[in-house]
Amino acid sequence: MSAILEVENVVRAFGAIRAVDGATFTVEEHSVTGLIGPNGAGKTTLFATIAGSLKPSSGRIVFSGRRIDRKPAYRVARAGVVRTYQAARVLTRMSVLDNLLLASKDHPGEGLTGIVLRPRASRDHERRTRARALELLALVGLDSHAHAYAGTLSGGQRKLLDLARVLMLEPSLVLLDEPMAGVAPTLRIELLEHILAVRRELGITFLVVEHDLDFVMQAADRVVVMNEGRVLAIGTPAEVRANEQVVDAYLGTAH
């Protein structure tokens, strides 16, 4: 196995506060890697930094051998690193299907020159995109909602839509920010199964921030534990669970 993502000494400061303070770890290709840590450990900031919505104050982020830490978010996404948000950022005023169509890659019809000069290429691409979108909607069980406004979906359904939308982009690495938060317990199992199936069938790598430790222990091959902006421990779920420092970080030293 080789590393698909290398995070090297990444620092992200907001004024005097160093939310991420020299984090270093790697994510192996085709793995599900959990990123855990107590509140304020810097997980979400690190996520935003990897995805390009924040620039690191120092350090390097290398994806598939290429530095991505100076690229804007949309270029990071096009390179194949796609993130989701804690509260699924679906476009509520668009239909569920439009949400997926929006996530098409290299669509000629998304440029003004394309719609004028290459209308046929645009139509063909739209047709293929639509077929793929309907497939993915069926996969996550939202096909009956295709033409409803995304704003009418429940929190859990939005997470499924978000996952399907991410898959439309054919990413190599997906960053999931608390995929289980706000999802009904019955939907959680379904969501977990989808993630594992996607990894198995499409070979997509996942880096997952999650507070639900059961989920992390079940799904992750490796776990990165952060505390106060730094990486505290890296290992298999079993190793991490046995680590004294990790237990201290979560429960405080006086337990």
Partner: protein
């Protein structure tokens, strides 16, 4: 009351509504579809009108070359304004746009040698000559009038303005139904989400701003041709806010709501000049002009309460979270 029955007057009202339609359509593209709070739309209108008039009078260009260049100038103005400012937060961007349109107006007022200054376009040419920029347009308009067999120039202008407006509305409507328009709406609703889906948010905003500016440029041309004369005073910020009222009346995010809003606005605005009966006569006639703005303001207030989506807007889209 004889003016009420005069076809010429109502044709004039219709022409102005058509010009407002084109102006507000630009705003609809920028705000209704890309979420850009532009309070400087009138500045682009001025760029279009002045570029055309200056090229015709000072450079002796044909109207057929000068007019498209006026539209290009307005679009370039949009690009130049957008490049340094579109990364600002929405409210700061709004402030910059109003400053932009005032800068255009003050430049037009003070650069007398270029624009004729406060005397307006009549002073565009050499001193002592009253210059006209619409010779080419008049020839064209007369030709159209003869071809259509119309007896009145007003009716001819009405047909031309609305034909252009309908073409522009249709083109805009078609463009916004493409995948390009879909991305634009995504940028409007959640630009972070759009960026994380690989969309170059900045480029889309810039395109929307420039296209909306180009439409304002077209409105500027027709404004110039309809009145045969203009000066910097014609491009006060109030005109931008008229366009905003039209957007609110018609409905935000709907292309075909724009002409509806513009017609309602135009006819209320013109119709209220006939309020020459009590209690309106208690107010001096020159002050009575303000009453129409009060009436439009009240209508918008009532609309916001009872029908916040405007006459043709989509209520469901407004309440979804």
């Amino acid at each position: 009351m004889s003016i009420l029955a005069s076809g010429g007057f109502w044709a004039f009202v219709g022409v102005v509504a058509g010009i407002y339609t084109i102006l507000s359509l630009g705003l609809q593209v920028q705000f209704g579809f890309a979420g850009l709070l532009n309070f400087g739309q009138v500045g682009f209108m001025a760029l279009g009108a002045y570029t055309m008039a200056i090229l015709v009078v000072k450079e002796g260009w044909s109207m057929w070359l000068a007019a498209p260049l006026g539209v290009v100038a307005a679009a370039v103005g949009g690009l130049l304004l957008g490049l340094p400012t579109l990364r600002l937060r929405a409210d700061y961007f709004a402030i910059v746009t109003i400053a932009f349109s005032e800068i255009i107006r003050y430049v037009a007022t003070n650069e007398t040698s270029l624009t004729g200054g406060t005397q307006g376009t009549i002073a565009l040419g050499p001193i002592g000559t009253a210059s006209q920029y619409n010779g080419g347009w008049s020839t064209f308009q007369t030709y159209v009038q003869r071809t259509l067999g119309f007896s009145s120039a007003d009716a001819t202008m009405l047909v031309i303005v609305w034909a252009v407006a309908v073409v522009l509305l249709t083109l805009t409507w078609l463009a916004l139904r493409t995948p390009w328009g879909r991305v634009l709406r995504a940028v409007r609703d959640d630009e972070d989400a759009a960026a994380s889906l690989g969309k170059n948010v900045f480029a889309y905003k810039l395109q929307a701003l420039a296209l909306g500016a180009a439409l304002a440029g077209v409105a500027g041309l027709f404004y110039a041709w309809e009145f045969s004369f203009f000066s910097p005073d014609d491009f006060e910020p109030l005109l931008t806010f008229f366009a905003w009222m039209i957007l609110l009346l018609g409905g935000i995010g709907r292309v075909w709501a724009v002409p509806v809003g513009a017609l309602v606005f135009g006819f209320i605005f013109a119709g209220t000049r006939f309020l020459n009966f009590a209690p309106f006569t208690w107010v001096a006639s020159d002050e009575r002009a303000y009453i129409r703005l009060i009436i439009i303001g009240l209508i918008i207030l009532v609309l916001v309460v009872l029908r916040p989506q405007g006459l043709l807007g989509n209520r469901r889209e407004m309440v979804l979270e």
